[in-house]
């Protein structure tokens, strides 16, 4: 059976069967809360949460698992970090491929707190121009924000090199699209802040995600409330993860994420198959493809525009004639489309998952060829 779902950058499908299995097990059998008591049901649930935290820390490339804190998604993680830094009267440098999860908040902070931002110098595919990056750093620059993997053309930014260029200025990395697909070395790259989601590259359920803070004392919590610790105090605990985890966590979702991490499949295609697919699509006369210039900096998604059909029409034809599910338009990333020259009409995006086989990619290619005849 052909896998016609190519919208994995929106949310992953299918999930490993373990996701539903672990959720069912949690809801029907273990079912306890996190902390706040000592009976076995609580301990089992709490151990599940901490196992996920440990695995995520390892995958993120950090030894500081306590600084990996659960949130409901990457957007809430970004909101926690950007709001918690209390930026005012300063300058922010951002990558040219930012999603509105960052842009809407940055715009609000600029409006309210006398903050300005610049877009870092970049190449045509949206990758940062490392050689000229230092020219955009000002004495007042307090934060650099980088979308690690674009949700429009899949380009992966050179985080390690960017951090080297900006030195002591803190960096926030949006891992929403890259986590699960790309090797991460949070400690090795000296990353200060990161945000991630559980339902995309990790193949977990929606409603899961998290943040990482190298120095949590620099960030105020966004949500205040009970943590099951320091309960005698009206103040939030200053230590992580409790500082950023007020309220009962999404235990159902986190156990589903544990299922995803345990049952993550061996990819059914490789990077060469993706590259070959993009090369073949590029050769179709009516199609323009948007991808990284460098094969090694390409994540598992790319976009196209078509001479004869706008993006909405093309997406509709792909579904009605071939059952192929994709996302058309601006992908909540108008800045990325401005950078690529596809604003405001947008593109059609194809986002793969480890479950796509070579024959699924061939099916997609043939559909695009037939539409372009």
């Amino acid at each position: 059976m052909i896998n016609t779902y190519f919208d994995n950058a929106a949310t992953s499908y299918p999930k490993p069967p373990e996701v539903a299995g672990y959720i069912s097990e949690y809801l029907n059998k273990s079912g306890g809360t996190y902390g706040r008591g000592s009976y076995p049901r609580i301990l089992e649930s709490s151990r599940g949460v901490e196992t996920v935290r440990e695995i995520l820390a390892e995958k993120l490339g950090t030894r500081k698992a306590e600084n990996v804190c659960f949130t409901s998604n990457a957007t809430s993680a970004i909101n926690t970090i950007l709001s918690g830094l209390k930026l005012h009267d300063c300058h922010i440098l951002i990558s040219p491929m930012e999603h509105n999860a960052v842009m809407r908040l940055v715009s609000e902070i600029c409006r309210r707190n006398n903050v300005s931002y610049d877009i870092m110098p970049h190449n045509l595919d949206g990758t940062a121009d490392i050689r000229n990056l230092s020219l955009f750093i000002k004495p007042s620059t307090r934060l650099v924000i980088v979308n690690h993997q674009s949700n429009v053309n899949g380009v992966i930014q050179p985080i390690k090199e960017i951090k080297k260029q900006i030195g002591e200025i803190p960096i926030l990395v949006d891992l929403a699209q890259s986590f699960g697909h790309t090797d991460l070395k949070i400690d090795g790259w000296d990353i200060d802040y990161a945000a991630f989601t559980g339902h995309k590259g990790l193949l977990g359920p929606s409603g899961t995600g998290g943040l990482f803070c190298k120095d949590p004392e620099n960030v105020s919590p966004l949500i205040l409330g009970g943590t099951g610790s320091r309960s005698e105090s009206f103040e939030m605990p200053s230590f992580t993860p409790d500082k950023f985890e007020a309220g009962t966590p999404n235990l159902t979702g986190i156990h589903g994420l544990l299922g995803a991490l345990k049952g993550y499949p061996e990819p059914m295609h490789d990077h060469a198959d993706l590259t070959a697919l993009m090369d073949e699509i590029s050769s179709i006369e009516q199609i323009k493809i948007y991808r990284s210039k460098e094969i090694a900096s390409q994540g598992p998604l790319f976009s196209i525009t078509h001479e004869k059909h706008n993006s909405s029409q093309l997406a509709a034809i792909l579904y009605s004639d071939f059952g192929i599910e994709v996302r058309a338009g601006l992908h909540c990333a108008p800045l990325a489309h401005q950078t690529l020259g596809t604003f405001p009409s947008g593109t059609v995006r194809f986002a793969l998952s480890p479950y796509h086989k070579k024959e699924d990619l061939r099916y997609l290619l043939n559909a695009l060829k037939r539409i372009s005849k």
């Binding site: 901490e50 935290r53 099951g228 610790s229 309960s231 993860p241 409790d242």
Partner: protein, 70 residues
């Protein structure tokens, strides 16, 4: 006389419990005794003979704790 270790967070308690189990150190998860705190969380109970071993392990793994003899 019992040796009770209390931790500042659920994460630290669960981590300490795992580390002790992985290192063959016997401990029991108990509610935080009322003599120590009115906290609603959990604590670990050790044999008093294991204080040195438990202390060395938790310190090595950077887990913050405090011991109480009750």
């Amino acid at each position: 006389m019992k040796l009770v270790a209390i931790f500042r967070s659920t994460r630290d308690t669960i981590k300490a419990d795992r580390l002790c189990r992985e290192n063959g150190l016997s401990c029991k998860v108990i509610p935080v005794p009322k003599e120590i705190s009115s906290e609603c969380g959990v604590a670990l109970e050790f044999s008093t003979e294991d204080e040195e071993k438990a202390s060395a392990l938790l310190t090595k793994e950077s887990v913050r704790y405090s011991f109480h003899r009750i």
